[in-house]
Symmetry: C2
């Protein structure tokens, strides 16, 4: 039978008759897709939706989506761009935007050239690109835990291992000793991966901690990959120290960046990977070319956001610092609650006098209300890779204005005072 | 030594002194990053840049970046959106945009619900997500070659194998026989992956070919993944038949889509993955959540582009059809050139009477000019996975207006008449 005859014989009806679905298996999805790690609060989303249907106001302190305005002046200028063809940008990003980023990093005394910067689709893509470009399957990164849970997901795609090193709430989640880090290093270790300031802990690492890491990564020939998307949000007058400013790390330091948090522009999906290591930029560039270009509109907006952002950023930082103070003071006043003064970002962790933060978060959404409202938090366990850690902890994202944040903390205070699962004795002991 | 003592002891200067870079190796990039497949014309880009520096006009027929305007009315509406916070969209895309896409597919008699559609960062991300969600490492997809070269790159990230099945220029690159497909199926085959209409060949598959594939994928329990981003560009009055319209493929058909080509909005980075298989949408959704959201601005613009696009799309299709006719007629008139009338997209392949299309493309940029101009083409070899194929072929993207396209074809005609590497005897034989 010739091809032409074969093709002509077939018609839609013939095909339909031939297919007997009862006896045919269906194609199945991949095994790996079943084990993609999910967000720590994903299971709670339907409960929050149901609470809203029941008329509850839900204060969302579970997600890093701020209520801060995206810079209005930048949006105005963006709208005035006489765009006619929304073409691909270069795979590495628009040259003018990369040049603007060079100027931006100079504010932090970080001296770069445009070739050191590859614009990515959010910080997310920069994380994945780093893992693909610098690690082979089975290689390891050491990450202080608790950490941003989606690192697990990108590691899953890249088929690399995340080796946690545990930080303690009693230390405000500062870095463990370098001896503890060194003990985690194996022949497969390729990088130490930090988030500074930290999501989910809000910890802002000190120069001493970062210099110690510097020595460690050089000694062991590792990359130091630093996710610095909360760079602008360092409080109490502390200066931010970038991995790109650390001495002797020109070949070792790789920085993940993003406009999402800086400008409250999470939907722009514009990030960057920054390093002076040309081997790394070459490798990243190969991955970047596959997906042709980062978002074009987001890049144009981001370039405007970089202009004249001083007053904006200083206002936003003040707003977050006030929110942080509010959350810290309220948590300190709650019996049995362990917390600390976070130095940066817009998150803090808290330990509650309860057995299971997951149960508590579910109860908040399913059963609790105070003045018609409740609060959604992220259970802490999902931010740890070590089993059993964080079960009585939560992450609080102080992304709401002070009035809403105050009302949310009222809810939390009343909830902890009335939750049936609270460890009363422990609470009394600690609060004494 | 306690941690505190250790940390305090360190200062920047101490660290700098301690590090002796002469004796330390540098961290190295991954092995896999060295083997990321590159674009077929990447090596030519510096040559094109150099030609421009020498004052040459370079007609770019090497890349699918059209000179068609992005819908001006949609851009106008987009500019008027009173956006205050550019927040994350849902990971699966804005519900209103997914609903608009449901309406869009109804134009093709494709009946969907919003849950069948996951908005992605360009078609590129949809391809990668399909590979991750439906294939495990080492699994195989069968792809008619020549094919879009970046499929190799996404397969490289997902660690899956691309099994080529060769199409012939003499057949206008229509699909090989189903027996030839069946011969490529192994226990690791998970999908047949087609691009319809095709990039790089412009072939638009007939209903008969698609029904034959339908039978094959059902018999062998495979996914049929169809990249249909050129759906609107089917010429000669032919109707487009989507994989989503094929009988009995509800669980098998997965479609890759994008606004890039449809609306000449390549920089929007808005695509979609569409399937009625809920196992697949669940799996894709897990990957989508990791990167939080597709581009927000691009989604808003895309929703406007979908409105009132009938006149726009019909005008664009007419423009491309005229360009196709021009390229086809000009190629037919060139001695020794083998080509065909492509039925869709905005590409065609051509075989030249030369030994190496790579050498020819390089010569065009380095040595040739006609009336101060030259033309950049994509060497064909990079679109084949089978070694040795396509060495005397090129891809021509007819993305320029008729005047520029005519001038580019003038260049090509003169170049083939004067290129020292042309096979004269063969050319004369064929043109007789």
């Amino acid at each position: 039978m010739t091809k032409a005859v074969y093709l002509c014989r077939l018609t839609k009806n013939v095909v339909e008759e031939k297919i007997d679905h009862r006896n045919l298996p269906m194609p199945t999805v991949s095994h790996r897709s079943h084990t993609v790690p999910l967000s720590p609060f994903r299971k709670l989303i339907p409960l929050a939706d149901a609470a809203k249907v029941r008329g509850r106001k839900v204060y969302h302190l579970n997600i890093g989506q701020p209520d801060i305005l995206t810079p209005p002046l930048a949006l105005k200028k963006f709208r005035e761009v006489p765009l006619e063809i929304l073409a691909y940008s270069p795979a590495e990003g628009n040259l003018s935007y990369r040049q603007a980023l060079v100027d931006y990093y100079l504010r932090y005394d970080i001296d770069l050239v445009t070739e050191n910067i590859i614009v990515t689709t959010g910080g997310s893509e920069a994380i994945l690109f780093f893992m693909l470009a610098c690690l082979d399957p089975g290689d390891e990164i050491i990450v202080p835990e608790p950490f941003y849970a989606n690192y697990n997901g990108f590691a899953h795609i890249a088929d690399i291992r995340v080796i946690p090193i545990t930080c303690e709430i009693e230390d405000g989640f500062s870095l463990p000793s370098m001896a503890a880090f060194a003990a985690k290093i194996t022949p497969r270790t390729k990088a130490i991966f930090i988030t500074n300031p930290n999501n989910p802990t809000g910890c802002s690492y000190s120069p001493a901690e970062l210099y110690a890491l510097t020595e460690l990564v050089v000694q062991h020939d590792l990359f130091l990959c630093a996710d610095e998307v909360y760079r602008e949000f360092c409080y109490d007058g502390n200066l931010f120290l970038s991995a790109l400013s650390l001495p002797g790390l020109a070949e070792h330091a790789v920085v993940i960046d993003s406009v999402s948090k800086r400008y409250s522009a999470c939907g722009a999906r514009v990030g960057a990977l920054v390093t002076r290591n040309t081997q790394v930029t070459d490798a990243i560039s190969r991955y970047a070319k596959l997906r042709l270009s980062p978002p074009g509109l987001g890049q144009i907006l981001s370039e405007f956001m970089l202009e004249e952002d001083t007053a904006y950023l200083s206002g936003v930082k003040d707003a977050y610092e006030k929110r942080r103070d509010l959350v810290y003071q309220r948590l300190q006043a709650m019996p049995g609650v362990t917390s600390y003064l976070p130095g940066g970002a817009f998150y803090c962790f808290a330990r509650f006098p309860i057995h299971s933060a997951e149960d508590f978060c579910r109860w908040l959404l399913e059963e609790f209300s105070y003045q018609g409202a409740t609060v959604m938090l992220s259970p802490g366990q999902g931010f740890y890779a070590t089993p059993g850690l964080g079960v009585d902890e939560v992450r609080i994202a102080y992304v709401l204005n002070e009035q809403d944040l105050g009302a949310a903390m009222d809810c939390l205070e009343v909830a902890l005072a009335t939750y049936p699962g609270v460890k009363r004795a422990a609470a009394e002991t600690v609060s004494r």
